[in-house]
């Protein structure tokens, strides 16, 4: 590639159009990203300490809520008959949905050759893992006797009992544990070259040893890189169906049953889209402050935010399609129960949730059609918060409104979350953010070597476009090989 000399000073046409702002070199990137975890413990930024402390307090609330739950049983929650699924399942679906953006970014966008994912994938994947950790707590805690959770796993036992393989609740066990383990391996494999960089850059002997151990002997040889690339592709291939399968199976938790509003055939794709939708909102919500605080604006550019907003709009519109089809089915189908469900959503005691969800997920995302909104940080922050609330309300509507009033009016009931429902929810935020702050502190939150590669590719691209514009737009294929 003799003519592909880096043109370091060629500015891109418009900063809002670029995935990497000019003025960065391989060294500057390695320093800027790599130095965040390598800072001496005594020089830990104050902001981090404050944030971590708050998260840690919330984590203690989590432990307290779990302890009380184990002590007294699930009766401390607001669940009852008929609403046997309450905030435990709402929050489970909400958290696991959030995780999906990470896998989408790391796996699907890798398979689609989308280079821009490089600067956000590590962070989004970490978010996935922590969100799955929060989500995974709920079904286990909701068992009533969580210490017997291993009964869900099929193994030959003296009871002679097997889980019911026809129940999607059991499919969840396999789907989520596979998802969590593959995501973890994918994330760790991606970290190896960067751990090696940290090992080589750290001056503290303990840091050197720790990162050296974590790097599993990475030396950056051609053979290492070859195997690394192969492993990444295979893991991406494995993760891709998992993005779809996990939330599809969660949608089947509902759709397999006959409850009005649950037996909806469009649920699987509609749930997957909703998950990605909520996940991107959370990525934006976390990424915007982080890029500002750590000065990563030249890696996570306005263009990134713009593209993520587009993904949010697209998946949001798919979710709106789902709402639309539900209404159509209720009006067209001629089933009194489905019709009543629609009436109940619009007029019942929890109508506020349905209207709230329509506003949050259908109306509030419409400004994203405009580039000005997609490139405005305050607007994106506000919309992302609204979406996060909206997607929580969606699960509330699906679970609570359907269960409160099913087929027989004599068995109707009402659901009111208790203090312990809310404290556990708040507590999972503690778990999530504690893990996230620890991650930011000890690991490079942006993939250093992929950024170097991306820098090289961007330079080559700029070189090519400036080359072809000299020849009046009539470009010929580069004759490099």
């Amino acid at each position: 590639m003799a003519q592909a000399q880096p043109l370091r000073n060629t500015p891109p046409p418009d900063p809002g159009e670029s995935y990497l702002l000019p003025g960065e070199t391989y060294t500057s990137m390695t320093q800027k990203i790599g130095d965040v975890p390598l800072v001496s413990p005594l020089k830990t930024p104050k902001g981090w300490l404050i944030g971590f402390s708050i998260s840690f307090v919330l984590l203690m609330i989590f432990l307290m809520s779990v302890t009380w739950l184990l002590f007294r049983g699930v009766g401390v929650w607001g669940i009852n008959v008929p609403v046997a699924w309450g905030m435990d399942i709402i929050n489970f679906v909400w958290w696991i949905g959030i995780g999906h953006a990470g896998t989408l970014i790391s796996a699907i966008l890798l398979l689609l050759n989308q280079g821009w994912r490089n600067s956000i994938n590590r962070f989004a994947e970490a978010m996935t893992l922590f969100a799955v950790a929060c989500a995974g707590m709920y079904p286990i805690l909701h068992l009533g006797r969580p210490w017997l959770f291993y009964w869900l796993i099929p193994y030959p036992n003296t009871h002679g009992m097997w889980p019911n393989f026809r129940s999607p609740l059991d499919w969840d066990v396999f789907a989520i544990s596979t998802y969590a383990s593959v995501s973890l391996v994918f994330w760790l494999v991606g970290l190896l070259p960067d751990f090696a960089t940290l090992r080589d850059r750290s001056t503290n002997i303990w840091a050197k040893r720790t990162y050296g151990l974590a790097a599993l002997g990475w030396r950056g040889s051609a053979r290492h890189w070859h195997r690394y690339e192969m492993a990444s592709l295979l893991l991406a291939g494995l993760s891709t169906p998992l993005v779809v399968s996990v939330h599809s199976i969660i949608s089947l938790d509902f759709a397999i049953s006959q409850v009005p509003g649950w037996q909806v055939t469009v649920f699987p794709p509609y749930f997957v889209a909703g998950a990605v939708f909520a996940g991107f909102a959370m990525v934006l919500l976390l990424m915007i402050p982080v890029r500002k605080i750590y000065g990563f604006e030249s890696y996570i550019t306005m263009r990134h935010l713009d593209v993520m907003a587009k993904v949010m709009l697209t998946t949001g519109m798919i979710v709106v399609y789902g709402y639309f089809m539900e209404v159509w089915a209720a009006l067209y189908g001629g089933s009194v129960f489905e019709e009543y469900l629609l009436f109940n959503r619009l007029n019942g005691p929890s109508a506020w949730a349905y209207f709230g969800l329509l506003f949050c997920n259908a109306v509030a995302i419409q400004p994203l059609w405009f580039k000005r909104v997609r490139q405005s940080i305050p607007a994106l922050l506000v919309i992302s918060i609204i979406i996060s609330i909206g997607m929580w309300l969606e699960r509330y509507v699906i679970i609570v409104i359907s269960l409160e009033r099913d087929f027989l009016p004599s068995s109707w009931g009402q659901y009111v979350p208790t203090f312990w429902d809310w404290s556990l929810y708040l507590g999972t935020f503690g778990l999530f953010f504690t893990l996230l702050f620890l991650f930011i502190r000890v690991m490079p939150m942006i993939n250093i070597f992929e950024m170097r590669l991306f820098q090289y590719q961007e330079e080559e691209r700029l070189h090519r476009t400036s080359h072809s514009s000299h020849t009046g737009g009539e470009s010929k294929p580069a004759s490099a090989d």
């Binding site: 398979l111 026809r166 169906p241 779809v244 599809s248 089947l252 759709a255 397999i256 049953s257 006959q258 037996q263 909806v264 055939t265 469009v266 649920f267 699987p268 794709p269 519109m317 399609y321 789902g322 639309f324 089809m325 539900e326 159509w328 089915a329 009006l331 067209y332 189908g333 001629g334 089933s335 059609w369 691209r461 090519r464 476009t465 072809s468 737009g473 009539e474 470009s475 010929k476 294929p477 580069a478 490099a480 090989d481």
Partner: protein
């Protein structure tokens, strides 16, 4: 490069394919016409089936045309002209939709209504065949509103197809390239949203309402995925016909073809996901309102068609497309695409014909003449349009993405 005249090097030679299309159209429609004189009922059923099946191709072309304007990418710029040519058939299919609309008005005075809900004795209270469930759907499923909706759908689709083609040709003739890119992208954004809603309701109207009792919210998604899969298979097969055009050989490396292969793979899985998802939900729910639709596709020998779909629409192409070698070799990829394209007919037979025939053996040659004839019409229009514009939009800045892939 502002050329107004098209040189031989820029345009694929598709005269033979066009003749083939015309031939298929003439033979298919002649047999269909013959069927009319034998049994008008079967003629109409076949026409509706054929129309519903073939519409998937111009609609699939329009969808991918808008998607590639939105996402960019080498596969998109390579396929753009083929997609435009396919979508341009929509105004003509508008005319071809007339018999479908007339059917709900029972213009042949048949004893048995093809669409049960268009039968006044079924939907009028006190009628001899009164069915309250069907009557419940009448405000939506009434002949006038059905006809009006059909007009709305085709106007939306025709306008989208014509505008995108016109602007794309203006770009060829040297109009401000970036302005055109922006304009096409914006229209595609709104167009995609309109498309999804209109195609969903088209599928619900023409396909789903053949069984006036049953419904599924996945039905529209299934039709769209089916259309996408069929269109991708067609585009890959079409590549074998145009690959030797000079302009194509000069600009297109193997990478975007490989990418199309990956898309075909993804859509094969998507089709399975959507089909199986709908089945497993209805099967597990086991509610009397929903199961008859599947029961009809299991009884009377239809189960063999179902099994064939599983084998040749999922397992075989899935396994074949896993291999990188098969996706990077156009000849092998085209063979797989041919199977997938054939299975699209089988899939539509499976979706539509059990509504008319309880036994799979009752499928008649008239049933099959309609899709052949109408597909011939579409193929001929496609080939004709393909020879009216350069094979690649050379003035589009996206052409760069083709060359970027050329290194590998």
């Amino acid at each position: 490069m502002a050329t107004t005249t098209l040189s031989r090097s820029q345009v694929p030679q598709l005269n033979r394919l066009q003749l083939f299309g015309i031939g298929a159209a003439v033979i298919g429609l002649a047999l269909l016409a013959l069927g009319f004189f034998i049994n008008p009922q079967v003629f109409l059923e076949s026409y509706i089936f054929g129309f519903y099946f073939v519409m998937a191709f111009p609609l699939g072309c329009l969808a991918f045309l808008m998607i590639q304007h939105l996402t960019g990418g080498a596969w998109g710029i390579m396929s753009r002209r083929m997609l435009e040519a396919g979508a341009l058939a929509l105004p003509i299919f508008f005319i071809l939709s007339v018999p479908v609309v007339l059917t709900v008005y029972n213009f042949l005075n048949l004893d048995l209504f093809i669409y049960q809900w268009s039968d006044p004795s079924v939907v009028t209270p006190g009628g001899e065949n009164f069915d309250p469930l069907v009557a419940h759907k009448v405000p939506w499923l009434s002949p006038a509103w059905f006809a009006a909706r059909m007009v709305i759908y085709f106007v939306i689709w025709s306008v989208l197809a014509l505008l995108l083609r016109t602007w794309s040709l203006q770009q060829d003739r040297g109009a401000k390239s970036l302005v055109m890119v922006d304009r096409m992208r914006k229209l595609s954004g709104i167009g995609t949203a309109l498309f999804v809603m209109s195609v969903t309701f088209f599928a619900l109207d023409v396909g789903l309402s053949l069984d006036a009792h049953w419904y599924s919210t996945m039905y529209g998604v299934h039709y769209m995925v089916n259309a996408g899969l069929g269109t991708l298979a067609f585009i890959i097969l079409a590549l074998t016909q145009i690959r030797h055009t000079a302009i194509f050989e000069e600009h297109v490396p193997i990478k975007p073809i490989h990418d199309l292969g990956k898309l075909l793979f993804a859509f094969t899985i998507l089709w399975t996901y959507v089909s199986f998802g709908q089945f497993v939900i209805i099967w597990s729910g086991d509610v009397a309102e929903f199961t008859p639709w599947y029961a009809r596709r299991i009884d009377g020998g239809w189960v063999y068609v179902s099994l064939l779909l599983m084998a040749l629409s999922f397992f075989a192409p899935f396994l074949a497309l896993l291999s990188r070698g098969n996706k990077r070799n156009l000849n092998r990829l085209a063979q797989i695409a041919l199977v997938i394209l054939f299975m699209r007919v089988v899939d539509m037979i499976w979706v539509i014909l059990p509504e008319f025939h309880a036994q799979v053996t009752q499928i008649s040659w008239v049933n099959l003449a309609a899709p052949v004839g109408l597909f011939g019409v579409w193929l001929a229009i496609w080939a004709w349009n393909m020879q009216r514009a350069a094979l690649l939009p050379l003035n589009d800045p996206q052409m760069d993405s083709l060359h970027a892939g050329g290194h590998h």
